[in-house]
Symmetry: C2
Subunit: 360 residues, 2 copies
């Protein structure tokens, strides 16, 4: 069943108002959350709304955070999110990075005391409006085992980099540092299909194709899948994301990161506050004139698009292409939601007194 | 056969003096080049010395470059390497990043008109001496095919991030954005052993285990190996390295990057000057007190080291562990060189009038 962006946006805003978010924050958070549905990252969108509400019920979300800069230099800042929704804290912190870049050339902001911030890409893309390169990293619930580890130590810790072009659409990398994101696994679980080897290990640390492996005490694997195929590189990248997001800011890191699901308690002996993010903004003209750069980005993108494909394969894609195409389609034809997601949202609405019906 | 660091350093310096490098530059370049041999990246060390000399013979290296900053803001700069050895240009540019960070909190330097800079990690590690996080990226000769591409479009484009700790040794990630670095392939070629699937494709773009695949018109594969295992992520990361190193600075990018081997001509219609690097330095105390950060890094590293290993597997390693152990061993027992490498160096010495014998 498809639903218009506007209907889902209005519903999400009303729900967030009910848990105490100010009007402006509810609007920001709804826009950020739904960008995932528009761009095809269905696991990170409106399907998670009731998860955020459960965190609020568990007193783990502050709907009226006093977000502030607790330390800064000309090109850096640490932001305390005051336990607010990551969907609100992240746009605040990214704006700090952009404002720093306007003056110092670049801005770099590490964030503590936050929560899940939606998709990484939407925050990095904010920089594009200012002819800047945007960078967005976050740590997340520990579901990933480093190379040789049986234990889960890291989140899917994504990296997003958004780079403006001129005639070409922007380059937008938005990737988990695991072989496959958790959302892809959820799809296989629903379809009762096996996962390829290299995505997950079971509770003993052996490779498995069962998509239930992670739920059953196993773990997602770092990009690379195994040592021979470079999983130590995915593990290294996920670690850098964790350290920049949390050790620099004073948030929880590694296995101490508070889980997104409200039925799992946060660690009894935290090493920091909440979870962490890291944002960067680099003004293009801090390096060379923006027009010149964007002309070369057009040439870069055009040349890669025209790379000779392997016979029988698709065209070579540019990072951001699939998401942009999906967004255009979903803005026009609506966002498809699975029946269980719709039921979950309806009962959430019932509980908080928000009608699901568009015309209410 | 093993050779002492000091013997190889002295020989390398003398060779570089013969091609016209000033004394200070020859010392810097020898130190950077040999750091690869010490840290076990044998493909990038003294074995490449005659390759650099051949580039100089082909008038593609300027031994007396006038390196300079051509554009800057408080936290950024673009450096023109004036065609110098990357082994000399990179330390110059990293120092600019460190100097910027001292004042602005962070420093970010994109470099054009350079050449191969040795291993990425040695430049990132320079920041550690200043209680800073160091970042080092470079583009390189096109040997890598993006996902779905038959054509080679990118280099092995490494990413290095060096992060200081207190009692623990520093965290030093230094990785190619491919499944396996070219050096690993060279080892298999010498041993006449097959490569694992996922490392390379043949000239038609089909997966192959032949380590000769790349020489034979094939390509290295991005980290992930194939689409199902996330090769679009390795391709995306390699692309970011290319764009930060070259599109920001005005160097050649993608398939236009000049090849390291002198027998291949640079592209007849370059899109920029030389090849490009990108360096970053972030002062720890631009975010939080350095002592506090390093205490938490000790805890991060300690916890990951103690992660329960998969039965029958090694301990969980921290990025930088294997290289550091090798360096300690090689400083004590010498650097092993293969017979063909020794022969090559001896004849290089004969040609330029530098004796290989330690006592000369």
């Amino acid at each position: 069943m498809n639903f218009s962006f506007e209907q889902l946006e209005s519903f999400t805003q009303k729900i967030l108002r009910k848990i105490g978010c100010p009007e402006k924050d509810a609007a920001t958070a709804a826009r950020v959350l739904l960008s995932a549905d528009l761009r095809g990252v269905d696991s990170h969108g409106v399907a998670r709304l009731s998860g955020y509400v459960r965190l609020w019920e568990a007193n783990r979300i502050n709907p009226v955070p006093n977000m502030c800069i607790v330390h800064e230099t000309p090109s850096t800042a640490v932001v305390d999110g005051d336990g607010g929704l990551g969907l609100v804290v992240a746009p605040f912190a990214m704006q700090v990075a952009i404002d720093k870049a306007k003056i110092a050339g670049t801005g770099w902001v590490s964030v503590k005391n936050s929560n899940h911030y939606g998709i990484a890409g939407i925050h990095a893309m904010e920089a594009l409006k200012h002819d800047m390169i945007g960078i967005s990293l976050t740590n997340a619930s520990p579901l990933v085992s480093p190379t040789f580890s049986r234990e889960r130590m890291l989140g899917t810790n994504p990296i997003s980099v958004a780079i403006p072009a001129n005639e070409q659409p922007p380059f937008v990398l938005d990737m988990a540092t695991t072989t496959a994101a958790n959302g892809k696994l959820e799809i296989l679980q629903r379809k009762k299909q096996d996962a390829p080897l290299g995505w997950i290990q079971d509770r003993d640390g052996n490779p498995t194709t069962s998509p239930l492996g992670v739920k059953d005490g196993g773990a997602l694997l770092p990009l690379g899948g195994d040592r021979e195929h470079g999983s130590h590189k995915g593990y290294g990248l996920g670690s850098v994301v964790d350290i920049f997001s949390a050790v620099l800011s004073g948030a929880n890191y590694g296995p101490w990161v508070p889980p997104f699901v409200a039925f799992l308690e946060p660690h009894p002996n935290p090493v920091g506050e909440g979870l962490g993010h890291f944002f960067g903004a680099m003004r293009i003209d801090a390096f060379r004139p923006a027009g010149e750069f964007k002309k070369h980005m057009d040439q870069w993108i055009g040349r890669f698009r025209e790379a000779e494909p392997v016979e029988g394969q698709k065209k070579v894609l540019i990072p951001g292409d699939p998401e942009r195409e999906l967004e255009a389609e979903r803005r026009q034809h609506g966002i498809p939601l699975l029946e269980p997601v719709v039921e979950d949202l309806k009962s959430l609405g019932d509980k908080l007194g928000v009608s699901w019906d568009q015309n209410d």
